[in-house]
Symmetry: C2
Subunit: 227 residues, 2 copies
DNA sequence: ACAGTACAAATTGTATACAATTCAGGTTTC
DNA sequence: GAAACCTGAATTGTATACAATTTGTACTGT
């Protein structure tokens, strides 16, 4: 029996939170744009009360900003913020891969190996960027799970969501190299070589950051980028 | 003149958020206890609408939990969660002190030196635990600020708030040793010795965690502690 | 032209009403 | 005696009403 037939009793707030979060991740709101509450409430089929509760959560998570008396706004596209988030991501994941090296069971590493093998064979030309990013993310989340630190996992999820838009743009010609790097990181983990696993992870992420800054400078999303 | 007569520009939501956050930090709500919305709203002089908006923010920040149809609850006192937060704190701060070593201006390090000197001379027997913790926190925030990473600063603030209750309990006989360790960390920073600064910071925090786990095991707050 | 102003429209801020759900208790049933 | 089951009270979930504030715009005087 699967999860399907269960009575769907998600509250409005949770549903709205998830839907609006998706919109924020993909920049359905334009950067800096004010969120019109009555309009959004009507579009999502709810009233302003649960809507504002959801918006307040998203403010706390860094997807929106809030100005007293003026309302909720989409976060800006600041390259500084992207940089900071990538720096944070690096720090967390490098530490995570070190912890994983000590704590992971052999079988867990084997699971990740299987996951990678499975995907490389199933890859086709038609795979979308979003799917590639999702796959990439899953690898990193699997490593993170080995730390047994749910707070850090949650944090990493938040960071990933906030930079996802840029990863979608950037994933074009990177997934092949990226997959090789994943394999290398895992190899170091299986060899229980924390030092080189950490180094590989650091370079892996730094390279992505370099690409992003390059891409934004070259105008991939110049329509949006402000500073 | 005190706070009363000035036109209070802050919205209800922001005021409620701050007040309830203080209550959550200090466990004015008992662990696991449900937050009664009408009662709390009455006590804080507002209606349920802005109250719930504030509560939703605090859920997103990890101070409260939310269960569909049952309402908002004070977070539990799980030693596992404390451990995870301390581990996260260690990772962030060790990385921060490394970054600070590269990036800080000499004058900024001198400022921190002055801050420490100032406080050691101003310390008296009557200083409360809360003040000592606040002073301790400020040192760490000053180091963090040297990374120029506002996202990491914000995160560290959240982590500190969530473990503050335990630091209050635990600060009793530690501040003297703690201050010496702060001086050592700063010395390593001034010498631009990232490796030893990182090592000192790691030990500094690990020792606190050891004390906390010890303290909780010995029953400092057995009234509260669940698992 | 342009800064300032007045005023209407749009929008946010908050209280309240009521529906939906959960909870507490006593009662019945086995 | 314990589990299942009612039923009214308490509590949460959400829509709506209206007050407070902000915004857009036409108008005014210089």
């Amino acid at each position: 029996m699967t999860d399907a037939p269960k009575k769907e009793n998600k509250s409005s707030v949770v549903r709205l939170y998830e839907e609006i979060k998706e919109m924020a991740i993909s920049y359905s709101f334009k950067p800096g744009e004010r969120v019109n509450e009555v309009e959004l409430a009507k579009n999502l089929g709810a009233s302003r009360t649960p809507l504002r509760e959801a918006l307040n959560r998203l403010v706390a998570e860094g997807f929106l900003t809030f100005v007293q008396g003026r309302g909720f706004f989409c976060r800006e596209l600041k390259s500084r913020e992207i940089y900071e988030l990538y720096q944070m991501r690096t720090i967390i994941e490098v530490a995570a891969v070190r912890l994983a090296c000590e704590q992971a069971a052999d079988s867990e590493l084997q699971d990740i190996q299987n996951f990678l093998d499975d995907r490389t064979s199933n890859f086709t030309e038609g795979t979308s960027n979003k799917e590639l990013v999702a796959h990439d993310e899953e690898f990193h989340h699997m490593i993170m799970a080995l730390t047994r630190n749910s707070e850090m996992s949650r944090l990493l999820g938040n960071v990933y969501d906030r930079i996802k838009f840029f990863r979608w743009i950037d994933m074009d010609s990177q997934h092949a190299k990226s997959q090789l790097e994943h394999a290398d990181i895992l190899k170091a983990l299986i060899a229980r070589d924390a030092e080189s696993a950490a180094k590989l992870m650091e370079n892996h992420i730094r390279r992505r950051l370099d690409q992003i800054t390059e891409a934004t400078k070259e105008g991939y999303s110049r329509i949006y980028m402000h500073s």
